[in-house]
Amino acid sequence: MNSKDVAGEIRAYVVAQFLAGEDSSDLTGDYSLIESGVIDSLGLIRLISHLTETYEVSFDDLELGPDNFRSLDAIVDLVTTHSTASAA
């Protein structure tokens, strides 16, 4: 799976889970998901469990800080870094 597919899937997941029925045209890669409350602490747990299952990655404790999930770009970076690492 390339990073473009990953970005598309993660975006679709976030929209379906956290923005159901809303206009998501403003959801850019750098939109602040955490600061604007789209993903709250409970949502973050759901998101992390989705990522670990879908991409078969595991995060260490340091990586679980909200900063790594602050935007779609940050999440995609985190996931692709891990996938590359495990593929190598």
Partner: protein
């Protein structure tokens, strides 16, 4: 509430100044002479019913000259009128009538025809309800309450006398004043803009309840009848400033019922160039308790409710039940010279009324702050505090932040049950025409101005106006139930 003295005062106006206008309704003007004649006709019909002295009758509060005359007749005869909302369902009307032990449901239709439907007495339904004391009260108002079951509030006759005297003095009312009566007749606001005006022999222009959201219609009433006094919720003023024309005859403008958005002050100031502006705070149980003179030219961050009006005592109680003595915040308790002696359903009184230092205070359920100078400001409803993920959150504060976004016309935030979070917030927002506002942009705005837990979890942005209750307030219950239906069809 209205009193036999009020009824006599209106009769005297009818005798001394029979040709002066008392009421205007649609295209009819009813003079004091005609109002007196109509009242006399209803008195005659009431006598034919041969009711025991001090009986209670139910008079659904259709906002018409006939209903006003019928109520005056009831006050004259020393009877008690239960005056519920006219659009109450038949079952609810029957239950209320039974609880108040009303003998008949009365309607005064065209000219002087009285319809009297006997009420089936039901002592089971009336169990726990006190009988109204005709000596102390001749009007029973109802409050809808957040639970939806109306509470019956006897309005004290002596309290009305004191209130009318205060209002007449405070607003310098004379017989040449003309009130726009916007609120429904069953609201306590009618104590001022209908009953107090009739007591001084002034004129009352009745807004037809069916057309209360028709801006051009309401605006035309103000212009055509040289209205001098307006009292109403913010929505009324939104309607009145729509066409931008000034109303120089208006000399008193009263904001009530809801907090006034800052954005409304400049247009209101332009629409009423010669008026004085007051924010007045009150409720059915106590009638008005606070007043604040507003200078629209110098908007304050949030319009205060001001200071207790003469004869009113106000206390602030903190969440632990201690009285806040200096500046601080907590639930507002008030004791006014106008207040009810208690709900007919006496079981409710213990939790709502409390005696402190020998005076009976009403727990408003409103959260207020008081500053060093003694100025009070409303923070929201005590029952509008919710816990989101364990954190105490004030829904109205969230609404205010969202409404402050320049593209927002109005916003309502409702709590929805959530398995994990306990409660999550849903925002329903109407945006300005042609704005490109989205829920995501609104969240960014909220994120800058609110703690994280207070940012609504879901945001519905719409171009249509918010649904409203009969009093013009946003219908929060309907917004909430619609959203719940969307999620769990």
């Amino acid at each position: 509430m209205p009193s036999p003295r009020l009824a006599e005062a209106v009769a005297v106006h009818g005798h001394l100044r029979p040709h002066d206008p008392a009421l205007v309704f649609n295209d009819r003007t009813i003079t004091y002479g005609e109002l007196s004649d109509l009242t006399q006709a209803f008195r005659h019909s009431l006598l034919e019913l041969r009711l025991p002295p001090g009986s209670t009758v139910c008079v659904p509060a259709y906002k018409t000259p006939e209903t006003i005359a019928l109520l005056l007749a009831v006050f004259h005869e020393g009877l008690v009128a239960l005056a519920p909302a006219p659009d109450l369902g038949a079952a609810a009307l029957a239950r209320l009538s039974q609880q108040a032990r009303a003998t008949h449901v009365l309607t005064g239709s065209a000219i002087d025809a009285l319809t009297a439907d006997p009420v089936h007495t039901d002592e089971k339904e009336a169990a726990g309800f006190a009988s109204a004391d005709a000596g102390g009260s001749c009007l029973l108002l109802t409050t809808s309450g957040s639970t939806g079951t109306p509470k019956i509030v006897p309005s004290a006759a002596a309290g009305f006398e004191a209130f009318a005297a205060w209002a007449t003095h405070e607003f310098a009312l004379t017989s040449s004043d003309v009130a726009l009566s916007y609120a429904p007749l069953n609201f306590d606001l009618a104590l001022l803009d209908i009953w107090s005006f009739l007591q001084v022999g002034a004129q009352v222009v009745l807004v037809d309840q069916g057309r209360a959201t028709d801006g051009p219609y309401v605006q035309a009433l103000v212009a055509k009848h040289d209205v001098t006094f307006i009292q109403g919720v913010p929505m009324l003023y939104r309607l009145l400033v729509e066409d931008g024309s000034p109303n120089p005859a208006v000399r008193q403008v009263i904001f009530t019922g809801d907090s006034v958005p800052d954005s409304l002050l400049a247009p209101v100031s332009a629409a009423f160039p010669r008026a004085r502006f007051h924010n007045v705070f009150g409720c059915t149980e106590t009638n008005d308790s606070f007043i604040h003179e507003v200078d629209p030219a110098t908007p304050t961050p949030r319009m205060p409710i001001g200071r207790p009006i003469a004869g009113t005592d106000a206390l602030i109680r903190d969440p632990d039940g201690a009285i806040v003595r200096s500046a601080g915040a907590g639930e507002l308790l008030v004791a006014t010279p106008f207040q009810t002696d208690g709900y007919l359903n006496t079981a409710l009184n213990a939790e709502t009324f409390t005696v402190i230092d020998g005076r009976t205070f009403y727990r408003t359920g409103d959260l207020v702050t008081r500053d060093e100078s003694g100025l009070y400001s409303l923070q929201g409803r005590a029952d509008w505090q919710v816990k989101v993920r364990g954190v105490r959150t004030n829904l109205q504060e969230v609404e205010r932040v969202i409404a402050a976004h320049p593209d927002v016309v109005e916003a309502v935030v409702v709590p929805l049950p959530d398995e994990q979070a306990g409660v999550r917030l849903h925002a329903h927002v109407s945006r300005r025409p042609s704005s490109a506002l989205t829920g995501l942009r609104l969240r960014t705005h909220a994120g800058k101005n609110l703690p994280r837990h207070a940012i609504p979890t879901s945001v519905h942005v719409t171009d249509t106006p918010l649904p409203r209750t009969s009093t013009g307030k946003p219908d929060r219950n309907l917004i909430k139930s619609n959203r719940l239906k969307e999620i769990h069809p």
